[in-house]
């Protein structure tokens, strides 16, 4: 294999593999910008993956499958929002529970479908015209699903919403200083619910992508820890939707390489790579504390109670 085609295929596959990471991270960024940590991403993704597979297999429509995946992610996130915002439960414990629950439930429901390939999958596109550009064409405009492009556009739109609109000011204020937002008439509870549920919708789609497009089949635990990478990516991206693009691409590349390099290195070692880098990234962001810590939403992880000052 020559050098150019190796790079082209790596970039192309990294982009494809980065899709679920990007969608999940964008959702988690919104939840955390509003001040709620949701460690249940892994659970929401696997539920989305199962739902998308089951619906697509039964009805034959990957679009409907993905829609249902979004819904199931949203419902799971709604439970998290209820526990953490309304009941003010510990966000970390609730999120961990959601992940365990999602993995367990998807495993249970998916028993009958285990290992089955999907009959109708999300089509891979070749963008007319653009795909014929040398090098860039096959890198970016061939063999991608529509979710790659929606995800990229979504990242830009979500950045604009967060930093250039009235809603964005409200969301960020709720995550930084809910008491202030409350005093100025912002409904803190509503903003947090919306952001957490929105995060769940995106995580559900991210999971669904895995089972109807990337590996069109159902296997138990097929998210393989991607939800945890999403949590790390959210920090790595400094809660910025645009930076999430680079982060998702980088980790997509790592995932992909861990398959590609199997011939040269022990597969167990390679499988560790994304997680190893997640630790490296978190450690690095800990050391560069001045830059990163200032960007973390100040009220992250703290339930809001009116009147407590």
């Amino acid at each position: 294999m020559d050098w150019t085609s190796w790079v082209i295929s790596t970039v192309s596959r990294a982009l494809a593999f980065g899709v679920p990471l990007l969608w999940g991270t964008l959702g988690e960024i919104y939840a955390e910008r509003a001040g709620v940590v949701n460690l249940g991403v892994e659970g929401m993704m696997i539920l989305g993956a199962f739902m998308a597979f089951a619906v697509t297999q039964s009805v034959g429509s990957p679009g409907l499958g993905l829609f249902c995946a979004a819904m199931v992610g949203g419902v799971a996130a709604l439970v998290h929002a209820f526990l953490t915002v309304t009941l003010r439960a510990n966000q970390y414990v609730a999120g961990l529970a959601l992940s365990m629950f999602g993995l367990g439930l998807a495993g249970l429901l998916g028993r009958g479908w285990e290992g089955k390939p999907l009959s109708s999958t999300l089509p891979y596109l070749t963008v007319p015209g653009l795909s014929r550009i040398p090098v860039l064409g096959p890198m970016l405009f061939q063999d991608q699903t529509v979710l790659t492009y929606i995800g990229l556009v979504l990242a830009v739109l979500l950045w604009i919403l967060l930093f250039r609109t009235r809603w964005g000011v409200a969301i960020r204020s709720v995550g930084e200083n809910p008491a202030t937002a409350d005093a100025l008439g912002i409904n803190v509870t509503l903003v947090r619910y919306l952001c957490v549920v929105f995060g769940g919708l995106l995580a559900g789609v991210g999971g669904g992508y895995l089972s109807v497009a990337y590996r069109p089949a159902w296997t138990e635990g097929m998210t393989a820890g991607m939800g945890w990478i999403v949590i790390a990516l959210t920090i790595f991206a400094a809660w910025d939707p645009l930076q999430a693009i680079w982060g998702a691409f980088f980790f997509g590349a790592l995932y992909h390489l861990s398959y590609r390099l199997q011939a040269f290195l022990a597969p167990e070692l390679l499988k560790l790579m994304p997680y190893f880098f997640a630790v490296v990234v978190l450690a690095a962001s800990g050391f560069g504390r001045a830059r990163w810590r200032r960007r973390a939403p100040a009220a992250l992880g703290v339930p809001y109670v009116r009147g407590e000052r």
Binding site: T165, R166, A170, T180, A183, A298, G307
Partner: protein, 523 residues
């Protein structure tokens, strides 16, 4: 008791801007407001004077919709209203500048002002608000840059943002809760000018304070509260400091301490070119040097957030120093543990007395021996010696006048003043060499304040070196022998207390430099 009530309710033809009638509010265990009546007319500054805990802030939180009164009526511009939330209050033209600002620090000034503001466009609301903000700043003399991030602003500038936030929402009534506590004397004068301008435009201003001088300077009428009740309302021009103090405290107040002449001994604490970072990793102290001698009190003045907290923490071993040296009686103790410092005779009266001064769930007697619980006579062979602890605690409670139901009562149930007495009893036992006291009288009533100040003076007379960090300039002027002023992590100058004027210190608090004398020459 003073029984002069002026014009309640108003007899002027224009209805009062705000009338609070017979307001009562109970919290578990206390009546915070007991049938309080308060009136604000257009174009006046009405001061609400009282000690901490007198119920001033509670009353204003009721007016601003943060609390609901148990009984009583609220009238705004002649109409009876029901204020259920700050949103209702804003709609009625009431704005409040809280003592602890309600600002989103990482956001820009414009974003803070745009938050929740009705009538802002969906896209780029900050840009739309910036224009309006500039107009208002001009009109009222409140200069502030809409593009700056709030965390970069000084406390005085942040306060301007809060006032602008209220004005842009059409506030006719502005409530200012202890507004000068974060300002230099000069900045306070600027604020008073702004208030005069607002007054002239027909706004009504409620000015909450416990400082007599500034209330007399700024207010038209003064309502004094004590223990949840209104003592009386007087015209500022008809009253004086002594009368106000009597109304506020309920007895004659002595304004002066008897203080012996300072006789500084050897240098007990010496700080050389200290560099320390804050929690965000930015420099909090940049080359701080000073010395404190036995038998003297060195006051550290300055507006909060200029490095005082980090200074106290590094001196007590709670925060690492990146450069520089700390010497305790000539011994290098830089970056040593808090326990070693404590063992060497360094006493610490921390800023946050409940969070850092006591273990709230432990009993009074356990809290009293916390520093020495691991040593004889309180501990022997790993077991606590109950009788020794009890005897020590009993003595301390009597000596320091700690009012507690029993020695076994959890410390968190004591009042603020008694918690502070407990902390001082623990820290001052066993003859400390250096006493580091951070805001020791903050939020205490007059009785406790007097006692704590006397205790610090006694330590000085007994030969301890006292470092007193306080935002209360009067306290520093009264107690300290020398005054060091901090600004943005540096010491602007050290002056002898007798020679310093308030203006001079105010200028240094705003960043003007004076020659630093590192060593104490005494007075």
């Amino acid at each position: 008791m003073v029984g002069r009530f002026l014009g309640q309710p108003s007899d002027s033809p224009r209805p009062a801007l705000v009338l609070l009638k017979d307001i009562t509010k109970r919290f578990p265990g206390v009546v915070a407001n007991d049938h309080v009546t308060f009136e604000l007319r257009p174009g006046e500054v009405h001061a609400l004077l009282g000690e901490n805990g007198a119920g001033k802030t509670t009353l204003m939180n009721i007016l601003y919709g943060l609390y609901r009164p148990d009984s009583g009526e609220i009238w705004v511009k002649g109409e009876r209203v029901d204020i259920r939330s700050p949103r209702d209050a804003i709609r009625l033209g009431i704005g409040m500048v809280h003592q602890h600002f309600k600002l989103v620090l990482p956001h820009t000034v414009a974003e803070n002002v745009a938050l929740g503001l009705a009538g802002m466009p969906f896209w780029a609301p900050a840009r739309a608000v910036a224009q309006k903000l500039r107009e208002l700043s001009q009109r009222y003399g409140l200069p502030v840059d809409p593009e700056r991030r709030v965390w970069e602003l000084s406390a005085g500038e942040q306060q301007r943002v809060e006032i602008l936030k209220a004005l842009i929402r059409g506030a006719e009534v502005l409530i200012l809760d202890e507004p000068t506590s974060v300002l230099t004397p000069q900045e306070a004068q600027e604020l008073f000018k702004v208030l005069a301008r607002m007054k002239a435009e027909g706004h009504g201003i409620i000015f909450i304070s416990h400082k007599l001088d500034e209330v007399l300077a700024v207010a038209d009428r003064i309502t004094v509260m004590r223990r949840g009740k209104v003592v009386g309302t007087v015209l500022a021009q008809d009253t004086n400091k002594a009368e106000l103090a009597r109304m506020m405290v309920g007895r004659e107040v002595v304004f002066r301490f008897t203080k012996t002449v300072c006789q500084p001994g050897e240098e007990a604490l010496s700080v050389r070119d200290l560099y320390v970072r804050d929690d965000r990793g930015l420099w909090a102290l940049k080359g701080v040097s000073f010395g404190v001698c036995r038998g003297e009190i060195l006051g550290i003045a300055g507006i909060a957030g200029n490095g005082q907290r980090e200074l106290v923490e590094v001196l007590t071993g709670l925060r690492p120093a990146e450069r520089g040296k700390i010497l305790l009686l000539g011994r290098d103790v830089t970056n040593r543990s808090p326990r070693l410092l404590s063992d060497l005779g360094c006493a610490h009266v921390p800023e946050e007395r409940i969070r850092m001064g006591i273990v709230p769930g432990l009993s009074v007697e356990e809290n009293l021996i916390l520093k020495r619980h691991h040593r004889e006579p309180f501990c022997w062979g790993g077991f606590l010696q109950t009788w020794a602890i009890r005897a020590f605690a009993q003595k301390a409670v009597e000596e320091y006048g700690i009012m507690t139901p029993s020695l076994r009562t959890p410390a968190k149930l004591l009042s603020g003043g008694n918690i502070q007495r407990l902390i001082l009893a623990r820290e001052l036992s066993g003859k400390p060499v250096v006493v580091i006291a951070a805001h020791p009288t903050y939020g205490l009533d007059v009785g406790a304040t007097e006692q704590i100040r006397q205790l610090l003076l006694r330590q000085r007379e007994e030969g301890a070196a006292v470092l007193l960090v306080s935002e209360d300039l009067e306290e520093i002027m009264e107690l300290a022998d020398r005054i060091a002023v901090m600004f943005r992590g540096e010491i602007m100058g050290i002056v002898a207390a007798g020679e310093a004027t308030l203006e001079e210190i105010g200028l240094m608090m705003a960043g003007e430099r004076r020659p630093v004398s590192v060593r104490g020459e005494g007075t």
